[in-house]
Symmetry: C2
Subunit: 228 residues, 2 copies
């Protein structure tokens, strides 16, 4: 695969420590595992230290993932990934705004509903989960990314490469470039800049389409961007 050229020198992110709110869920735990495998120090955050520690242990021996209460995870991390359920997303971020001040916060939350016909996008007053985060965290640098990554693939020990592109959205070029570089730490993945935060709602909502594709084709679908 050709390296993409976007005019940035690729920032060196290899030493960044990563906190993951909602790291006890499949998506957060999957990202924790892959970033730890890539050599990052990873701290799983949860409301309960006990559950965070258990999830960290479940990431696998020797990876060195630790668990902590969310506020402590934020303190210890250079960058924080938010992978909590949409319910409680706003409340959690509002409570932790102080500790997230000055940090890059990567929101990968998809506001979806489910019924007999499958998944559908929920209306979000702010336009998207990422824009809600940006409104609640005015002192943080909010980036949207990792919305479409299959937790099944992330957690599967047989899957060596996660072959998909991660769409990265944000209004702060340095922050989006850094998150693009972070995505590229997972073998097979590229981080592709895909617009400003105001265009994040449809990226989150598109997860409902991937759910439909997975159901129809019995797949773990992801996206690749062509010609980039």
């Amino acid at each position: 695969m050709a390296q993409h050229q976007d005019g940035d020198s690729r920032p060196d992110v290899a030493r960044l420590s990563i906190g993951i709110f909602g790291g006890t869920g499949d998506e957060g735990r999957g990202l924790a595992r892959r970033f730890a495998m890539a050599g990052h120090r990873v701290i799983i955050g949860s409301r309960s230290t006990e559950r965070a520690t258990a999830a960290a242990a479940a990431c696998g021996r020797g990876l060195g993932v630790t668990g902590a209460e969310n506020a402590d995870a934020a303190d210890q991390a250079d960058i924080v990934i938010v992978a909590v359920p949409w319910e409680g997303h706003g409340e959690l971020l509002a409570a932790l705004a102080g500790g997230l001040s000055g940090k890059i916060v990567v929101d990968c939350v998809n506001p979806l509903g489910f019924d007999a016909h499958g998944a559908y996008a929920l209306q979000v007053r702010e336009g998207s989960a990422a824009q809600q985060a940006a409104a609640l965290l005015p002192q943080s640098r909010v980036v949207g990314a990792f919305h479409h990554v299959s937790s099944v693939l992330l957690l599967d020990p047989e899957v060596a490469e996660v072959n998909m592109d991660v769409l990265v959205l944000g209004d702060d070029r340095e922050a989006t470039s850094l998150v693009q570089a972070l995505a590229a730490r997972i073998p097979g993945m590229r981080g592709i800049y895909a617009g400003r935060l105001r265009n994040c709602g449809q990226v989150e909502a598109l997860t409902a389409n991937l759910v439909a594709i997975n159901r129809r084709y019995k797949a773990h679908a992801g996206l690749r961007v062509t010609d980039v």
Copy 2:
């Protein structure tokens, strides 16, 4: 590329005639050209027969594309593609509802706004252009598709294969399967079922992200669905 398996026998669409509303625009003309190259009879529709005829001639010699007023194009076609600007989309479809009765109508309209920061998704009362079409055409079988196809690639005589997947959305399985097969008539393209019409809004809106990608990477970006 592996053929996808989705449990359908691929319908035979080789003999379908295709009407294209808005075939005087780049997107419509590009699709007209590619479908004519694939052997389809194509009728470009416009409010003006004269402009339709001129656009048909511009598709290239020997392709046999013809032009007609929209209502006549609908009459002559087995299937109609709607590639008009979002402004006037509803008005046009409401006026032509009778002639579209019983037909498959493929909506590829993207409701976008543009400002100094680039493209952004417009709010649509019905949820999406395709859902607006479905509301206005209760006797037609509305499918959403071809939203992300670059008109530059479609119109470029040097481009032999248009390497991307077309997301196909709709509530009528026979109609979506047929449009999937139609997409596959263009070399390089696959038609991938991507959910019901209620999930079409984010697919239309995602075109704003592709505009941002094209601007950043100087590309003509499209999507491929992985693992399908």
